[in-house]
């Protein structure tokens, strides 16, 4: 078959009713007519990464995540450090027989939960900003 094809070029007349290389007026362009810029799956990542909205999103995220991470790491490691190097201080009883060491350990749970709750609240804002970045990308598709 392959050798026959080479000798006899295929009939160039289009089949009636099939997609031809001339797009019908009005409707969306068929895939083979789109240029790279019009392809909906192709995203200009560089342009998005440099966009105002995306930079604002990164900045907002960094403003929350960096201090929160530093805080929880310092707060957590304060526990073994204090127990290891200031055992008398941690042995101080606070109410009844309950000492500072136990209360500090227990407080870790609540601090972790509070940081998680604050993050979820902040992240709802990040989600909105991220949606803005994505819309900007889709918006540019329809324009070009």
């Amino acid at each position: 078959m392959a050798s026959d094809d080479r000798k006899l070029p295929r009939d160039p007349t289009p089949i009636v009713g099939a997609h031809t290389d001339i797009a019908p007026l009005g409707g969306p362009k068929p895939p083979h007519e789109r240029t790279a810029d019009e392809e909906p799956d192709v995203v200009d990542w560089e342009r998005l990464a440099g966009s105002e909205r995306f930079r604002a999103l990164l900045k907002a995220k960094r403003r929350f995540i960096v201090p929160a991470t530093i805080f929880f790491i310092v707060y957590y490691f304060a526990l073994p450090v204090l127990i290891g190097y200031a055992p008398e201080f941690m042995a101080k009883t606070v109410f009844g027989p309950v000492n500072l060491a136990y209360l500090f350990a227990l407080s870790q749970f609540f601090v972790a939960w509070i940081i998680a709750a604050l993050y979820v609240r902040a992240a709802a804002r990040f989600d909105k900003m991220a949606a803005g970045v994505i819309n900007e990308n889709h918006g540019s598709d329809s324009v070009s």
């Binding site: 995203v43 995306f54 055992p87 027989p97 749970f109």
Partner: protein, 522 residues
Amino acid sequence: MTAALAMFLGFVLITLGITYWAARRSRGEAAYFAAGRRITAWQNGLAVAGDYMSAASFLGIAGMIAFNGYDGFMYSVGWLVAYLTVLLIVAEPLRNAGKYTMADLLAYRLNARPVRAVASLSTLTVSTFYMIAQMVGAGALVKLLLPGVNYETAVIGVGVLMIVYVVFGGMLATTWVQIIKAVLLMSGSIFLSILVMKHFGFSFAAFFDAISKVSWTAADGTQVTRNFFQPGLLFKPPWGAIDLISLGLALIFGTAGLPHILVRFYTVPDARTARHSVVWAMILIGSFYIMTTFLGFGAATILTPGKISIENMAAPLLAAALGGEVFFAFISAVAFATILAVVAGLTISASTSFAHDFFTNVIHHGRERRPGEEVRVARITAFVVGAVAILLAIKLRTANVAFLVGLAFAVAASANLPVIVFSIFWRRFNTAGAVAGLLVGLISSIVLIMISPSVMGMDAKALIHGEPIFPLRNPGIVSIPLGFLGAILGTFLRREPRAEARFAELSVRANTGLGAEKATTD
């Protein structure tokens, strides 16, 4: 004992039913590896908790508190706080930019074949070590809880069940086994905590008072009285404090690098759900570890260390003392369910990594030769991994393998986390850095554990006879910086323009979820 057997069989039947349902329901790759990405936030939260809280935490920490008081509770704290690293840094970028495994995120802008090969090696190492520790624990547990069943039968039983769940039911069945286990574990712990408080007439004052003066008759006949709120009963100078810090580092940075936890975030529809599922998991895991106070201190005060024959049996023995035969049976069944859910999670993450990273992407350059090949390879791998774990667990039955869990966390923290963090946040990071970071972290943790007191020792039980060369049980404080250093030095070895050029794409994908894998529809 028959009650324990009946409850355990009940759990097995229910989970096999779920596996049958999951096997009929799942079609295709995303269904097998990621449960179709249709798990909801609370379901995934329960499943993460079920995947994470191993027998080591349920039985191990309760026993550690029962014997060492406060220092045992120190463990509990780290297991929860670790999830802040998962929540703030890893979960969402991973969900947004990956497909099935941790290596997907790394391979995004790096040279896929070397990175995937090494990441797959690290995943298989972590999962296998962790799994052997669980299986040996399961075998030992069965001997105590069901005296009629021997060690080999128990190990083979656990191994065959986990293979069945994973091979036939894939991620969907594994997820539901983990969810059921989490519900059982939580309800068992709540009930046991209530019984402990009832013993003290629901008076915290009486409970705390008892904790501050636990007294028992030691093996040599002397009367011992200790304040169990007092730190320092387990971690003693000169290395105690540094060992604690080192353990904390491995927990805080290792959890976010555990492959079987990371793959769970691919089972949800989007990054927002992944985030909420971490919060659900934190609520469950935190509540559970606060309850270890009741379980552990309860066992210390009500049973006293003198009457607990084996440290890991503190929780079941406490259940027997407070709730009688039936409750003992229930807690024992919970312990089995705990082990099964964890080993199933480990098996599926190991087999996914081998099939997706190594077989398809390293050997076959990212192309499936036949549709469905990747899933078939994963099923075969799950079978092989399970069989190897059964054989190793039977071989190592008398060895003390508790250090393997610590090793898994150390490898995850020293090898996996540095490269995950750098590939998301550092533009200059490249293939050489990823390979160097993974290998340095992996090798340094294994070598340091091998020369630590966990493996080396002067007594007969030690795996290697000799004076320990490295003084700490937990290598994290040395191996984690080494892992980061390896990744940094490797990166500066050469420039990789393609990796730097694709940083923009990864950054936009990871932070916005644009182009992320969608949930399946059928």
